[in-house]
Symmetry: none
Subunit: 421 residues, 2 copies
């Protein structure tokens, strides 16, 4: 029989939006990796009635219940008591937990208030989950068909405790593993990919095939459930081959890849250096590359040429060209990239010039018109983009322009047609 | 009668932990500000049965139901259909929505696949919530005691749509108003602010006073509940005066202000121009300034000088200085800012040079050591930062360095002591 998991987070600070429920995200990933199906995430406040109703609800629709939060020393930390009541268990004092709490304070040199010892009371017959990252111990127990795990709320306690103590305890339940491969796609929207793959997505059950729209790009996830990793991979492989055959070089990476990561690694592997010349993107391309550790091995520098004077004085773009054609044209994009190559002394340079909005430029060019260029030893390429959408989507115009600049480098590195969009 | 709100997020990617449910956090904040009580957050996958059970559950325990996600063009986008069924409503085709979707694609120059028009089907008699940030329109309707709002999942669409369209529709439910003033603070941590204000925070009930830690900064929210706006403002005013008296010029703005916004507006108001010279921040400062519409009136440009050659060749930093003292020192920060002023021809320029990590630099400078400088007509100032606390977080070192650079400009514009941290 396959298990159904509910994650129940307890805390008014979550309900009010003062904290984001990142525990749910991280636990959900860990649980999927154990092959357990998470069907529900719930959040309820520090209120005894509603908490107890939420526990009853979880019992009715799930057989694995994992709570986060409400294990602390203060009077609104109710989780253990309410859950114990719901399962008809008495609370038992654990002297060894009390000692652990005392020594935790001793080590951190802080005075311990008595209410901290309340954390040493746990439901009878439970397995204690030691908390080496904070004071509140967690616990786990089975009751009839239900398996219950209680973890503290702070992610830096909750997540390591889950991995170290809860996951081993839960592994008794896991039937095989869920394994997923993510393909990263740039150049097509969700609806295009979905219309190409709809039939297969509907046919496939194991593995499943699902598209997700990301910021200016797409990911396609192939997820298989099997007895072990190898069997899951074997289910995924043919579907991945099929999808790669259909999408070809629209697929720029897998897993946690990003366009900037693929570009950085590709340049580094070839010992090449990179530079940027940014007008409408205003530093975003350089910022994204330098977000990555090790970028100093590849990025020599960049120029944010927001004014024509800087385009001319720093990048050497012809003043006449700017006067005749304006800053937003293919020739200026090309001249910016070539200028950056020369001034920064790098092997390849990308540039972006366009209208990020919210208004048309002084020449009446529409918001979203952007020219992106790549200058390399073997040539110079330009893409003309029309990124208009709602005119107040300045951030999106900039992100897409940066994505295209990075995509051009990625295609140049891979020897693919560069101007194709 | 006081309303009870449930937030129901729909999406298997949330259940599996591939995405964090940030919509719930942001909507919860907005709803609290409307005086509505959020009692439950739930997440359910793209599964018709479980989704419909979750809707029934929400109907049974809440009277305001706000769904996020599942409005898109793909076959696993079920929310509108399932919710309409549960409330016995037929789905109606909205030609004006179809036109909006078509023109969205027309503007963005992308081909529209037919499945996108599925998004134009909405429950009968609903109020359409226009989506100017994406393709899927939202909707809102009342049915008996229930008020239902459906929003798309991507935060970039969900949050602005809520503020622009859903919040006004929901305001019919709020009894009285909840009004809040946010003070933005840079230079102190949450614990410092909290220890200064703890007693007042505990005493105050209406208005309440609450600190929130932001990325590298702080906000302090004063929230009052009253019959009308004027009465709420009257409750807030004295507390705001008191807090301003205590925190003084650590408060750099209010409401939606950001350091870059305050800097941009301050420079624009004085007709001053800005430039940047960035090493460890790699373009982040220029990127943040150019995130803002109208930045072209102020920012002339920037140089990302990731290598010493660029520092020397483009910014004119003395090669000897770099050889003798290395790139990470006060003198280089100063020379970079002054070089940027000269090369970019701007009134004021900021620079940042330091070790973002993950590793010490070749001279053994520790991760988090950053020098930030401001060069202006009336002088040049440097801040030495030790951001080691964030040594595990390259992005945080960069964000804090950028914050300090912007804070120095903000203080220069306001005639305040600039090097104070």
């Amino acid at each position: 029989m396959s298990h159904i998991v509910e994650l129940l987070a307890v805390g008014t600070e979550l309900l009010l939006g003062n904290t984001v429920n990142s525990d749910a995200q991280m636990l959900a990933r860990e649980l999927s990796a154990l092959g357990l199906n998470v069907y529900y995430h719930s959040v309820v406040g520090d209120n005894p009635e509603r908490l107890s109703q939420s526990v009853e609800l979880a019992k009715s629709r799930a057989d694995v219940i994992i709570t986060t939060g409400g294990l602390g020393p203060t009077c609104d930390d109710l989780t253990k008591k309410v859950v114990a009541q719901s399962f008809g268990k008495a609370m038992v004092y654990h002297p060894e937990c009390a000692d652990a709490i005392r020594s935790y304070f001793a080590c951190s040199g802080r005075a311990m208030t008595e209410n901290n010892l309340q954390q040493a009371w746990l439901p009878e017959g439970c397995t204690v989950l030691e908390n080496r990252w904070g004071t509140a111990p967690g616990c786990a127990f089975q009751s009839g068909r239900h398996f219950v795990v209680m973890l503290p709320g702070p992610p830096r306690e909750c997540i390591p405790m889950f991995k170290e103590a809860a996951a081993p305890w839960l592994s008794q339940l896991s039937e095989g593993v869920i394994c997923s491969h993510t393909l990263r796609i740039f150049g097509w929207g969700e609806s295009q990919v979905e219309s190409l793959l709809r039939d297969r997505m509907n046919e496939l059950t194991n593995p499943t095939l699902a598209p997700y729209a990301k910021e200016g790009e797409m990911e396609l996830r192939i997820t298989a459930k099997a007895a072990d990793q190898a069997a899951a991979e074997a289910l995924i492989a043919p579907v991945e081959r099929e999808v790669r055959g259909l999408l070809g070089d629209l697929i720029y990476g897998t897993g946690e890849d990003t366009l900037e990561k693929v570009v950085l690694e590709g340049m580094k592997a070839r010992g090449l250096t990179l530079g940027t010349a940014e007008s409408c993107t205003g530093g975003l391309i350089a910022k994204r590359v330098t977000d990555l550790p090790g970028s100093s091995a590849v990025l020599r520098g960049g120029v944010v040429s927001y004014t024509n004077e800087v385009k001319t004085n720093v990048l050497g773009v012809s003043r006449q060209l700017l006067e005749e054609q304006g800053a937003v044209c293919a020739e200026v994009a090309r001249a910016m990239a070539q200028g950056a190559r020369r001034v920064l002394g790098c092997d390849a340079a990308v540039s972006a010039t366009g209208v990020a909005g919210p208004d048309r430029d002084e020449r009446g060019n529409p918001v979203g018109l952007v020219y992106v260029a790549l200058a390399a030893p073997d040539g110079c390429w330009v893409r003309k983009l029309n990124l208009a959408g709602a005119s107040d989507r300045r951030d999106r115009v900039r992100i897409m322009a940066a994505n295209h600049a990075l995509d051009m480098i990625r295609r140049w590195l891979a020897g693919l047609e560069i101007e194709r969009i």
